[in-house]
């Protein structure tokens, strides 16, 4: 129930009439710290480690290749 509520809330935020932000007003959004993946190598390694120690993986794009990680 909590998950469904959170998901519904997120979708509502996406679909709602958010304020229009003109391209010249997007300076803060373009800062390095605002990137989805600030460091590609760190992100790849962490994602591989978690996937090899937990029963879940994925969610950040299509799945990549596998490994025999124990």
């Amino acid at each position: 129930m909590t998950v469904k509520t959170a998901a519904a809330g997120l979708v509502l935020v996406l679909l709602c009439g958010c304020e229009t932000v003109q391209p010249w007003e997007r300076g803060l959004l373009a800062k390095e710290g605002m990137q989805w993946t600030p460091d590609i190598m760190d992100a790849r390694l962490r994602s591989q480690i978690y996937a090899s120690k937990e029963a879940s993986s994925g969610g950040a794009g299509a799945a990549g290749g596998g490994c025999g990680c124990n």
Binding site: V3, A6, A7, L10, V11, V13, L14, C18, E19, T20, V21, P23, W24, E25, R26, G27, L28, L29, A30, K31, E32, G33, M34, Q35, W36, T37, P38, D39, I40, M41, D42, R44, L45, R46, I49, Y50, K53, E54, A55, S56, S57, G58, G59, A60, G61, A62, A63, G64, G65, G66, C67, G68, N70
Partner: protein
Amino acid sequence: MAAQKNDRNPALMALTSSALLLPAYQTVQADAPPEFAEAGMQYSKYKEDDITGKKAFGGGSERFDIDVAQFHLLAPVLDDWSVAVDVAWEDMSGASPWFVGESASGDPKVIMSGASIEDNRTEVSVTTRYYFDRGNGGLSLTYSDEDDYESKAAALDGAFNSADGMTTYSGAISYSDDHIDPTQGAVPTNTTSASKDIYSAWAGVTRIVSKRAIVRFGLSYTYRDGFLTDPYKFRDSRPDERKEWVASGGYRRYFEEQNSALHVDYRYFNDDWDVQSHTLDVAWVWDYSPAVTYTPFIRYYTQHEAEFFNNLAQRDQRYFADDYRLSAFGAFSYGLRASRKIQNWEVSVDAERYQTDESWGVFSGEESPGLVDFWRYGIGLNYIFK
């Protein structure tokens, strides 16, 4: 630091319009190739805590210790293309849980694999990307080779932004052809040679919600078909199919007074093995100065056990497993990343601690004696060719 508003500088407009279109898994700009080539390398040390004599037969034992070296190159090519190359080398050694037995007092205890397992892995990934006015499309090829495992994967992805640049729609599909030939000698194996295929599709939408905040939402489906049993576990027999669904969300907000960005990411995972999980990642990216950035982060993970998991594997059932990774548990990890820019160079260091406990999870289940805690340290160096 106050934001410069109403600045119609074309360079800023180009930068901002492209930076907003980043799909969750990309670091390249969405509608223009990177302006400069960049290269980076990183060395990381991964070390699992020893398992104690209280949880293992035969006294304590060392677990995995892995050294990882990574290389990354991203370069613009011609006017509308880019090429990225990622390489990783891993050298691992140590022991892993072989099976779980019952002690004289009735407590489950792990029997470790005994002889230290040695393995090396090399992964090479090449991505070419084409950029057009309102988005991009990419093709990735990845090859991973270990002593006992080979994986060949391909992925196609694309991103397309709305006319006002407020929304970006993304999608990706991938296929992986994996093959395992378990190393013989350390422990008896469940197979001598086997294969599996992995098919995956993902769709996402990213939306600007204000001058300081952006959100994203994604859905993915993954189908695994083939040998999914762990070949090195003594008591392990898993279905040869697995269907996984993931819903994810992310939020980024910039705080001008603190010169900081808040990162919040959530993932819900569900599959037909009765595993479900929640993952919450929170990070605070603090620009201490124009050259120095500190990023403390915390991650919480909790999972429901697989329907065929038992500490003492039920070998009279069709499917069974005592693998701690299929048990119910909760995990906290936390760490700090620091980076400093020096002209075109950037050096970074980071450290992370990962700890697990059955009682930290929101799903109840048997506590596996094999649960793992680990440390990870890394140092990286990046260079921008400008």
